[in-house]
């Protein structure tokens, strides 16, 4: 590493000291900027946060009351998104890692898809799911649009974790005459589970954070959703609407932003714990 150069007495020149100082300064600046945003949300959001805030419906267009319907709508959208995206992503990842002779075109298409602006997914979802499939502005349409969006991210992460498995697993199972399906189900998937979970968490993170793709697919309605075909307002859209369209809505927006941040951090922690536990027990059985 560059650290090795520190031991070289002749090399510690003036330019080294200047470079070290200015890089430190840049890192401090970056950390300060990020902390500014995080602390701002914590500080302004904490004042709004209470048990009532997460369990009651909004009143006075969101200035008072809570965010319960948005929480439920967000969860439902996320459930639809994961239910659609996870099996497809894992299947595609297995195909890419284990079977595809040259998945180059598929990989490239996934990488391009991963970089597509979310508003483009919103347009696509609006035409395809909302109008063409006749789902209307609904949780179903929003969730499926998000599924298209998170698919590439989840797929590539799952592929990486399957590829990281040692070749010996495959060879051993082949020598024992175990079928490929059984090898995958009994050995490779459990062994890759932490990696798959990481991929899914990445997807959840992207889905929870998304706003633009939901504007014209899951809609704005802030009532409690009663089915998947109801329109539901996601937390991120609530933040947008409160801060832009409701005078005096900033505090509600900050409270919602804090809830969203805590959810993002919490889900990360929980899924990691579950995935480690699951992969351990599955491997013992196998």
């Amino acid at each position: 590493m560059v650290r090795a150069a520190q031991r070289n007495p002749s090399a510690n020149s003036v330019s080294d000291r200047i470079a070290g100082k200015s890089l430190t300064l840049a890192a401090l600046l970056v950390a300060a900027l990020i902390l500014w945003v995080v602390v701002d949300v914590l500080w302004q959001g904490a004042g709004r946060l209470s048990w009532e805030f997460v369990t009651t419906a909004p009143s006075d267009v969101g200035r008072a009351g809570g965010i319960a319907p948005m929480l439920v709508a967000t969860m439902l959208i996320l459930a639809v998104c994961l239910a659609a995206a996870t099996p497809m992503a894992i299947a595609t990842a297995i195909w890419l890692a284990e079977f595809a002779a040259a998945g180059r075109a598929l990989r490239l298409s996934l990488d391009v898809l991963a970089g597509m602006p979310s508003i483009v997914f919103g347009l696509f979802g609006y035409v395809f799911f909302v109008h063409m499939l006749g789902l209307g502005f609904s949780i179903l349409a929003g969730g499926l649009t998000l599924a298209c969006m998170v698919l590439p991210v989840v797929t590539r992460a799952c592929e990486e974790s399957l590829r990281a498995l040692p070749d010996g697993y495959r060879l051993g199972c082949a020598a024992l005459g175990v079928s490929r399906a059984a090898t995958l189900w009994r050995l490779q998937l459990p062994a890759a589970m932490p990696g798959l979970a990481v991929g899914i968490v990445l997807g959840i993170g992207r889905a929870l954070a998304e706003t633009a793709a939901l504007l014209y697919t899951s809609g704005y309605v802030d009532r409690m959703p009663t089915s998947f075909s109801d329109s539901g307002r996601a937390l991120s859209i609530h933040i947008f609407d409160m801060s832009m369209n409701v005078p005096g809505g900033d505090r509600g927006a900050y409270g919602t932003a804090l809830v969203l941040l805590v959810m993002l951090i919490g889900i990360n922690a929980v899924v990691f714990a579950i995935s480690t536990w699951w992969s351990e027990t599955r491997l013992e059985q196998a």
């Binding site: 090795a4 070290g20 391009v112 898809l113 995958l184």
Partner: protein, 300 residues
């Protein structure tokens, strides 16, 4: 890799069935991109057919209800905001990544890593909220109206910083140690080996990081929508409000009809094509050894 496996254990019927299912899913997933582009084109087609491509770029103004569809001011707004954000975020991000990888004490580096991972997960709408409530009033106090190109640039810069830092860090870490040991043996100092050895060796990774961050900045909708002021115009100074292509779609889609709607889809198509160009560029930069890409499936 281990493709000879096929000769040892011939696939059972169940295996063949599994393989077909996986292949079908992979085709569907691979088709999404094509499908998405075809739909955008189909919806944009009425305006391309009746009005043509050129008026989208040389009509006198953007008044879609009166049949004037000039996207240029918004395209300019998009590019100005993205380029401005990159100019600020790229040097800062590179410096921060270099510090984290080569200079920071181990514990501080780990702490920095956590903070940056946290920042990468913050929703863009939260960055927008921070920009709207904190940044815009600060700018307005200096030079009204506050919601402006500079606000968009700053919010975007903060937003793409984590992307740049994470990608740059992984590019820096992939530089072989032998090169650094060689540099140290030759008597190069920290700065010397960073500038003369690490940066040239990691150049493609550094560029790819920048291209991917640019794609993110170009396509960002919410954060920009909240702070940029959304006036359709060529900004004369950085203090003037702008409207980006993506913000325009989000603002007008709700009530757009007929050709207006088609023009919005056309602008979505323009955005998509811009991003595709950038992603292809990043892909070219990222695969210096094409041999690695074409490895055979293990069981094929």
């Amino acid at each position: 890799m281990t493709s000879w496996l096929a000769s040892i254990s011939p696939p059972s019927r169940r295996d063949r069935w599994l393989q077909w299912c996986l292949r079908a899913t992979a085709w569907v997933v691979g088709g999404i991109l094509l499908f998405l582009l075809l739909f955008l084109l189909r919806e944009a087609w009425p305006v391309l057919r009746d009005v043509g491509l050129m008026p989208l770029f040389d009509d006198p103004s953007w008044h879609p209800t009166e049949g004037r569809y000039n996207l240029l001011p918004m395209l300019a707004g998009t590019l100005y905001a993205a380029v401005g954000a990159l100019l600020i975020a790229a040097p800062l991000g590179w410096a921060c990544a270099a510090y984290a990888v080569y200079f920071a004490p181990r514990r501080l580096a780990a702490w920095l890593q956590k903070l940056i991972a946290l920042a990468a997960g913050i929703p863009s709408v939260v960055y927008g909220l921070w920009g709207l409530v904190v940044l815009v009033p600060l700018i307005a106090a200096y030079q009204p109206p506050g919601a402006s190109l500079i606000a968009a640039v700053l919010v975007l810069a903060v937003m793409i910083l984590p992307t740049i830092i994470l990608l740059t860090e992984s590019a820096l870490r992939s530089v072989p140690r032998e090169l650094l040991h060689g540099a140290a043996a030759l008597g190069l100092g920290q700065w010397g080996s960073l500038r003369r050895v690490v940066v040239p060796a990691a150049r493609s990774g550094l560029l790819a990081a920048m291209v991917l961050a640019a794609a993110r900045a170009l396509g960002e909708t919410m954060a920009v929508l909240m702070v940029a002021g959304n006036v359709v115009q060529f900004p004369a100074t950085v203090w003037d409000p702008i409207r980006t292509l993506s913000a325009n779609i989000a603002l007008e889609m709700a009530y757009a009809m007929d050709h207006h709607r088609a023009a919005l889809f056309a602008s979505g198509l323009v955005l998509a094509l811009l991003v595709i160009a950038l992603m292809l560029m990043a892909a070219c930069l990222h695969s210096p050894c094409p041999a690695r890409e074409s490895r055979r499936g293990r069981w094929a």
